[in-house]
């Protein structure tokens, strides 16, 4: 593909070696403003995180004897340890649910005829809402006295559970402090310095409702992305494969899935960065939770800075967040940039 394009594109007569300097100069104001608000500001926050005692009234960047002391304290802080655990588990569970559901629903919606627009609209509607609205509504739905539990009761799931297990099915959802699948003991052996882990490294059950609410809101995004990918597969390809005797599942396996791979990667990267940054939805839905079961780095930063007025701690935690997000996003941006150049 790219070769054909290159050949059909004879070297355009360029006035100057560096290309259009005028266009570059016109882009410069936006570039500089964004750079100040992104890179200069981040550098400032790094400065705050390394400073001994930065305060808004006395913005001193003077470093103490150990500039990394704030980071050391941060990683020893049980609350931040839970945050990292929660963020990790939340991201994995959320991606699994959202991407898989989005993919299969997109396949089904794509096959619909006249009802396609209706289904697409319904599944995407939650995406238009504010995270705060979603959090407020779902907090109510997961109230242990009602909501989903009442639904379980009347749908017969609860009584079925009772007859099998012999105990009442009444999940505490958001207020649960239980952690399942604790692997702390294992981690302590594997990771050097693992003895510093002060929280149970398992899956806090209270995260499950949060995952459900977030997946409810963002599944439509994944579906829309996959739908756009499916539409871009030429019909001829499908017909040709059918002509060659490919069955439905064979078509999906050998044509649709490989052709959807680039869009799947884009969707994964976008949803991963949303999950790592998640803040407002959980803040409105459950806050930090019982024993920080639903606390997230985003909430930790916000509360450290604006509730506890520990600016250095908040700054350090936000830089940790930034580094984690960059590990996911920067390789992707560089890769897609290179691809655009080749085209």
């Amino acid at each position: 593909m790219s070769q054909v394009r290159e050949n059909s594109n004879p070297p355009v007569k360029r006035k100057k070696r560096g290309g259009d300097v005028k266009a570059a100069i016109l882009l410069l104001p936006s570039f500089l403003i964004v750079s100040v608000f992104v890179y200069v500001f981040i550098s400032y926050t790094i400065g705050v995180s390394l400073a001994e005692n930065w305060m808004p009234a006395k913005a001193s960047m003077a470093q103490g004897p150990d500039p990394f002391a704030t980071y050391k304290n941060l990683f020893e802080n049980p609350r931040f340890q839970s945050d990292l655990r929660n963020s990790f588990i939340f991201t994995i569970l959320f991606l699994l649910v959202t991407v898989l559901a989005g993919f299969f629903i997109a396949l089904a919606v794509h096959n619909m005829g006249r009802t396609k627009g209706f289904f697409r609209g319904v599944f995407l509607l939650p995406y238009a809402l504010s995270f705060i609205v979603t959090g407020v509504v779902w907090r109510w739905l997961f109230n242990p006295d009602s909501g989903v539990n009442l639904f379980l009761k009347y749908s017969g799931v609860a009584s079925a559970y009772k007859s099998i297990k012999g105990e009442e099915l009444r999940p505490e959802w958001l207020t649960s402090a239980t952690t399942v699948g604790d692997v702390s003991a294992l981690l302590e052996k594997i990771i050097p310095g693992g003895q510093y882990i002060q929280v149970e490294m398992g899956i806090p059950l209270a995260l499950i409702p949060v995952v459900i609410a977030t997946a409810w809101q963002l599944m439509g995004f994944a579906m829309a992305m996959f739908l756009a990918g499916l539409v871009s597969i030429p019909d001829e390809l499908r017909e040709a494969s059918m002509m060659d005797g490919a069955t439905g599942s064979r078509y999906y396996r050998s044509i649709a899935v490989p052709m959807l791979a680039p869009i799947a990667i884009t969707t994964l990267v976008i949803l991963t960065h949303v999950a790592l940054k998640i803040f407002d939805l959980i803040y409105a839905m459950s806050g930090s939770g019982v024993g920080f079961a639903t606390d997230m780095p985003g909430i930790f930063v916000y509360e450290s800075m604006y509730k506890a007025l520990k600016y250095n701690t908040g700054a350090a935690a936000s830089i940790v967040m930034l580094i984690i997000v960059c590990i996911v996003v920067v390789p992707y941006l560089i890769h897609s940039n290179r691809e655009t150049k080749e085209r």
Binding site: V12, G18, G19, K22, A23, A24, L26, L27, S30, F31, I33, V34, S35, F37, V38, I42, Y44, V48, N111, T115, F119, V122, F123, L125, P126, A128, S130, F131, I132, V133, V136, V137, W140, L141, N143, D145, G147, L150, M225, A228, D235, M242, G248, P262, T266, F279, D280, Y283, G298, Y302, M305, Y306, S318, M321, L322, C326, I334, S336, N337, T340
Partner: protein, 291 residues
């Protein structure tokens, strides 16, 4: 008009081929989708029902039931509490959307129609700005707003949304302009139009679809923002509606019917924008992702 007919004739053979091969599985898929619809609509149902109940019936144990004494008290009370903030949101969102889309279209035009050194590096560096966790720039942001005397004001919040909106609008417009042939720009250049004149007289008139896509996308993004609103404006009467809704939900004395009515009020503008212009919303969604 002509495009729709082309699409229709194109679709026909595909559909019939499909009916031949996947008729049964298609029916199964249809039934599965029909089962999923209530699951997705359910939170909306509960929210609207609760908003129309009297305080004593807006109880967790009866949340699934429709309002038996129908009441607008909840909506009234929520409106009384949130309407000033709703107005704040509008006065903040509309200028922010217009300015950030205008800047984005200009940048997108420069990046898609001209080649210059470092263009892709500059573009990538700007794109990073839409992925960073905004928590990591809050401290200097507040300092900066205080320095330019915009802290705690709506213009300050507009400025913040415009600057952090530039990456995404630039991306949307760049992807939009890539599909417009370069010849249009070259023809204008032969006629003696400079970069700016070509932009205003040739590019802008054909950019209406791009502006709708970027506009609707930015409208929902900025309307739904919480973090910038809560950080840069501390006076509750000046805060946007998302922040006010969260404050309301943190108040113990507030009844559920009021809270759900408040959630409904905060959700309505983006929901309407989405339901009327949903097609463009989907375009913005997919155009707004890096390809």
């Amino acid at each position: 008009m002509s495009t729709t007919t082309i699409a229709a004739t194109k679709k026909k053979p595909y559909k019939s081929a499909h009916a031949r091969h996947g008729g049964k599985s298609r029916r199964v898929q249809f039934i599965i989708l029909c089962f999923l619809v209530p699951l997705f609509v359910m939170p909306f149902y509960v929210m609207i029902m609760a908003a129309l109940k009297t305080p004593q019936y807006a109880d967790v144990t009866t949340m699934w039931l429709p309002p038996s004494p129908f009441s607008l008290d909840g909506l009234q009370e929520a409106w009384g509490k949130l309407s000033p903030n709703l107005m704040n949101s509008f006065t903040m969102v509309i200028p922010a959307v217009i300015i950030s889309s205008a800047i984005g279209s200009f940048n997108g035009y420069l990046l898609s129609k001209f080649t210059f050194r470092f263009s892709s590096v500059m573009f990538t560096m700007m794109l990073v700005g839409m992925f960073i966790p905004y928590q990591s720039i809050l401290i200097p942001l507040v300092k900066f707003l205080q320095l330019v005397n915009l802290y705690g004001t709506t213009p300050g919040l507009i400025l913040v949304h415009v600057v952090y909106g530039i990456p995404i609008t630039t991306l949307i417009f760049r992807n939009f302009y890539v599909s417009i042939p370069k010849e249009i720009v070259e023809a204008a250049a032969i006629d003696g139009a400079g970069i700016l004149r070509t932009f205003f007289s040739v590019i802008i008139p054909i950019s209406i679809p791009g502006f709708v896509v970027a506009g609707i996308f930015q409208f929902t993004n900025i309307w739904n923002d919480f973090l910038f609103g809560v950080i840069t404006i501390s006076d509750p009467s000046k805060q946007p509606v998302t922040v006010a809704l969260n404050n309301l939900s943190g108040t113990q004395t507030v009844n559920w019917n009021v809270l759900m009515a408040g959630a409904l009020i905060a959700a309505i503008p983006t929901a309407i924008a989405y339901l009327t212009l949903g097609r463009f919303f989907i375009q913005g969604l997919t155009a707004g992702s890096v390809k």
